[in-house]
């Protein structure tokens, strides 16, 4: 994978940083000249992944969330969002639409469904007590400026 450019951002798991993460990723991705819809898809997927880290990974504790964003060849965007939280016991179950462990917080259980449908590729790796890493890729379409 040829990396044309890369950004790494570390944010503490405060919910106010959901917006900061979206803003940081947007400002990096903009150099690849995405359409409004592509940028909106990426922002939404990032928001879901960061929220998962805050709500489910750290569960009210404070830890760091590491964002890696890469611009790859052929206008492909690579995003990795990593936490060192509690980990997901059953990734397959967690990825099922409407599955949530936080209904009292009105979580809809659609986070992974949004990531899956708004990005081209989604990979989740998790280890109990070690944390979770979400990797997403999206190839931007060809459009005239």
């Amino acid at each position: 994978m040829e990396i044309l450019n890369e950004m790494k951002v570390i944010l503490p798991s405060h919910s106010v940083n959901e917006g900061a993460a979206r803003a940081a990723v947007s400002s990096f991705v903009i150099q690849a000249d995405p359409t409004v819809e592509e940028l909106s898809d990426i922002r939404t997927a990032v928001s879901e992944a960061v929220t998962n880290a805050i709500v489910h990974g750290y569960r009210g504790m404070t830890g760091n969330i590491e964002l890696t964003v890469r611009l790859l060849a052929e206008r492909e965007i690579y995003i990795k969002i990593k936490d060192k939280g509690c980990g997901i016991p059953d990734v397959k179950q967690a990825m099922e639409p409407l599955f949530t462990t936080a209904p009292e917080e009105e979580r809809s259980g659609l986070g992974f469904s949004v990531m899956e449908s708004f990005m081209d590729k989604l990979k989740v790796t998790s280890k109990i007590g070690k944390g979770t890493a979400i990797t997403m890729r999206k190839r931007l379409g060809v459009h005239e400026n």
Binding site: S15, E18, G19, T44, S47, T51, V55, E106, S108, L110
Partner: protein
């Protein structure tokens, strides 16, 4: 994030503006619920015209208000959704239970 709530002919209209994510949804929920629980309107209309971003936290916000309105037989209506908000709504299948105008 801002919520302006007013009442017209038995309908509570909540004009939402700004971004809806897990961080902001909590305050939006509290502001809407405070008004709606005391007024118990026949209908709650959530107006998304001023919303510039929404992730699945918005779905949780809508489902929560739908359940609340059902407690006294009220209805929920969703207004002013932009195309990118409708994409998130469509994923959830929420249009099967909530009126989207």
């Amino acid at each position: 994030m801002k919520v302006n709530i007013s009442s017209e002919n038995g309908t509570a209209v909540a004009l939402l503006s700004g971004e809806i994510d897990h961080h902001s949804a909590k305050n939006m929920r509290n502001e809407i619920d405070r008004f709606v629980i005391s007024m118990q309107p026949e209908c709650l209309a959530m107006d998304f015209t001023g919303i510039t971003f929404m992730d699945s936290s918005g779905i949780g916000l809508i489902i929560g208000r739908y359940k609340l309105m059902k407690e006294w037989g009220g209805q929920l209506e969703i207004r002013g959704t932009q195309p990118y908000i409708r994409r998130v709504l469509k994923l959830s299948g929420i249009e099967r239970i909530v009126k989207i105008v």
